[in-house]
Symmetry: D2
Subunit: 306 residues, 4 copies
């Protein structure tokens, strides 16, 4: 048995050569291969400024809410008003939708972003929306306050590097079967370009269980907080795929120490163009906000009233 010191990320190829050498059975790595994303880099934790005086990572738990996809000015306008009055600080909504099938609704594109921005501005909200390709970044910058990277793109390294070149905050979702280390390495791709405004998002992993769309890994929240200084957001809507399971998982995320939540809300989920089954009614969302306000003090946090 031989112990080796040094940073493994700078000696990856030597390590691989060593593993390939005769007589070597296994190489066991002791240190983590990420550094900018590591808790050691900023032991006190990061607070990311999102704009309009809103920041995430501090005492306040921040909630982003809205429909899966922007569908019309009326739809996004009404939802924005409802979630703002319930205490949300960001409006979420997709203009570009990654869909498993090429035949599904793919989003309104730039027109959707315009509607999202208008609805948010009217209600004092910030905007978070998904970017799917480097070619969309430039166009999206004026419309959004937070660039979301979806689970399917967590290891799209061209996209991550491109996002590292701006200073726009990024919400990076964990891939469906990504380890926490892989998630932190993807954050490292963005941060190594100079953009430290990164938030990480647990949104459910793929397991043998078939009752829910995904298995929400609530323990990932305290684990990421332990390993990294970056703020952690939970997405109980994708994490469960079922509207009635969103409130218990949102409450659980706050109880486990999440810095933020991403929740799908739709005023008419039966007619939503995507993900209607997991979207909450606005009145249930308001009730959930109240339940979370009871829980937050148990972990030394609070959720603002509108």
């Amino acid at each position: 048995m031989i112990g080796v010191v040094g940073r493994s990320e700078q000696h990856q190829s030597e390590l691989e050569a060593l593993l390939a050498a005769p007589g070597v059975d296994e190489i066991i790595r002791i240190t983590h291969p990420f550094k900018l994303a590591s808790r050691n880099f900023r032991p006190e934790g990061s607070i990311v400024e999102l704009g309009k005086g809103v920041s995430i990572g501090g005492a306040e738990v921040i909630v982003a809410a809205g429909p899966c996809a922007v569908e019309s000015a009326e739809q996004i306008g009404e939802i924005a008003g409802r979630v703002a009055r319930a205490g949300a600080k960001l409006l979420r909504g997709g203009a570009f939708k990654p869909r498993s099938s090429p035949y599904s609704f793919q989003g309104l594109g730039e027109q959707g972003l315009k509607l999202l921005r208008e609805a948010a501005d009217k209600n004092g909200l910030l905007v978070v929306s998904e970017v799917m390709d480097p070619s969309q970044i430039e166009m999206m910058l004026p419309y959004v306050d937070v660039m979301q990277v979806g689970a399917r793109n967590m290891q799209n390294y061209h996209l991550l590097r491109a996002l590292g070149e701006s200073s726009k905050p990024v919400l990076l979702k964990r891939g469906m079967s990504a380890t926490i280390e892989e998630l932190l390495l993807s954050a490292e791709y963005i941060m190594s370009g100079g953009n430290y405004n990164v938030m990480l998002c647990e949104r459910g992993i793929r397991t043998f269980d078939t009752y829910m769309r995904n298995t929400m890994d609530i323990a990932a929240i305290p684990v990421i907080k332990h390993l990294s200084h970056l703020p952690v957001v939970a997405d109980p809507s994708h994490g469960t795929g079922r509207r009635d399971k969103v409130p218990p998982m949102a409450r659980a995320a706050v109880a486990a120490g999440a810095d933020g939540l991403l929740i799908e809300v739709h005023q008419d989920p039966e007619r939503a163009l995507s993900d209607g089954a997991q979207s909450m009614y606005p009145e249930h969302f308001a009730q959930l906000m109240d339940e979370m306000r009871v829980i937050a003090p148990a972990v030394g946090r609070r959720i603002a009233r509108p």
Copy 2:
């Protein structure tokens, strides 16, 4: 496409024959194969009486705490006092330990049960302990108030049937890779013998993630409550395997609607004969109880003060 009505559990072999017939591509089952464990059987939910006026499934969230294994009269006596003063209602402790390796400590046997009973009685606590084989049941009955079936034995049908013949309450743990339906079918084995005093326990499932020992499936709590009338208990100690992750997951379980908790506590975890790494210090356990008391009202529950 052909639709068939009737109870699939009584026609299992016909269904299998049908699936094997030429031209049949797939059989999709619409109804659940369990009935006694189903929520339909008792829509209002079950309250299981455990003894000494303690019951589970009602407004109060019940906590069982104690060491992984009973080691000595001094050890179990001190822990019993500490957890009782913090508000626990049951004392947990193993006398028979299922260990992956035949060379690990296997428990004190009947002597351990005696020590457990004495320590519990002195502190007004009930006793929960694991049974591993039908041959142990008779001997264990006088010592324990709740028989625990471990994850490895969830599909040990001889054991389940034997437990169905008494009326002693059973805490049935979910197998490491069992679906929720399989867990409910195992409960059905016990209940079909006439023993309806069954509690189900989520204790983490096996996934690709390697940071924690298991991935605790917090969503299983509301899912089981939806499908079944039986009380649901969460075990964050086995669910995480790491002491510092027990409090966030215990809080999350209460926020998600658990009826009870099973938590490992040891006054000297560094010297514990098993599972020391996941055992909490008594003072941290007391603090966790206070945090959970803040959370319970958010879901219309409470946790009694000692």
Copy 3:
């Protein structure tokens, strides 16, 4: 970083205490916790004698075939003749069936074992059948040549210990989500009692994939052969759950180095009382035997002609 030498299986509790100590982040085990099952124990590999001159682990790949469950003298008699004429050396068939649902067919019991023995003897075959509880062993001994432990009982330590006390060969199936190390530790339970006649069986693991009943881990075959001296058997019937996928997976198992195969065959699968969907027709089984006879020489093995 501190390195520690010694056998971890004898110091489990000290290791756990160490992990629980302040300042200890992780303990990384370098050696395997099994020894009797380890390849080091018998570097040349084990050949297990099954009776009537049949042994497993040598140049010949041994095939066990037969129905999931014994149903009647006619059924088992006909199948025994068909599989013997195709080249099988053992007759498989369940007399005690572990079923997820208490309402499914549970097997014919001792009567089934008698029928199995008679059918095997008439056709020069050996018998392999599943044991579910220590209380069945004594009764089963005269009827069977190989005791099978099912996946659900891989960690039923009372059963494993009891099987360690006889010298009857044991076919130990891998649990649905057991690691290879856990499988070898379960073999260690049997071997530490003195019974070294153990064969290990890969029968599919539980993964996120839902198209097949299980994901057959073909790579486990060479991995187990590398780590252990014990013979390895593959069960493509349970490994896939679909009759038309049994031949490709049986061929793949031989190509990957399996010492034996366990295959379900039924003369009338549409009317089988259990697992009809995965049972092969006798004529397709004979064809598969011929295909495997072409493959075996690629790995220095052979499959006998009847």
Copy 4:
């Protein structure tokens, strides 16, 4: 219970609305959401022409071999000669490497492609290499005969759509935790643009097992052949991550019906800049080719001699 007919891919949003409606518990889809990739579309199976008279999907099993990454003219030149003499028809090698860590070797870029093309041409081989972003396609076209899409990009829809606009053959790798249906839907993205020259590749999935890098899902080979007309390739190098496990899994893939193989070979794996641990020595690769030549006739196939 209500049955609905029609193509679900054209009515996705109506289906989601239905699922969200009160009283609807579950929607069970009976038909597959892919059509161009479906076996029904071309029941006889597709044969994809790769160039220089080489095609895949017919009686001959096609082998692509070469290093993980192109490192130098000497390296790729020597390997090309060795694998051509052993019977490979394509030279594989990465010029753009998707690496989990931003600090690992990322490939030689266009210079690597030039070296790859020259080495292939000198040895009568075709070229397969990975594309990571739509912006690389135009530049790569002259250098490669087959565009490979890596597992991390299986759901990078911008990349898939861009590849659908040319007629260059595409080798689409299954994502680490993608279901077979998701793999076929990703193929559908390419095919719906008009490019039907698609091959699918099984390269191991992520499971709880930690001994191998991935669990190679050999059963996926016959399952994909059953559901789709597209040729299926197996990658035992990434499927196992360990050199000594590549031969058994390559043989298993042929025995299970694979149309092609993708194997990493390096003349000096101890000094490889990436993936040395899973690269075979050229002489072992030649021996493996001979073993596979024994197996292929068992499934009515052959592997050409050089």
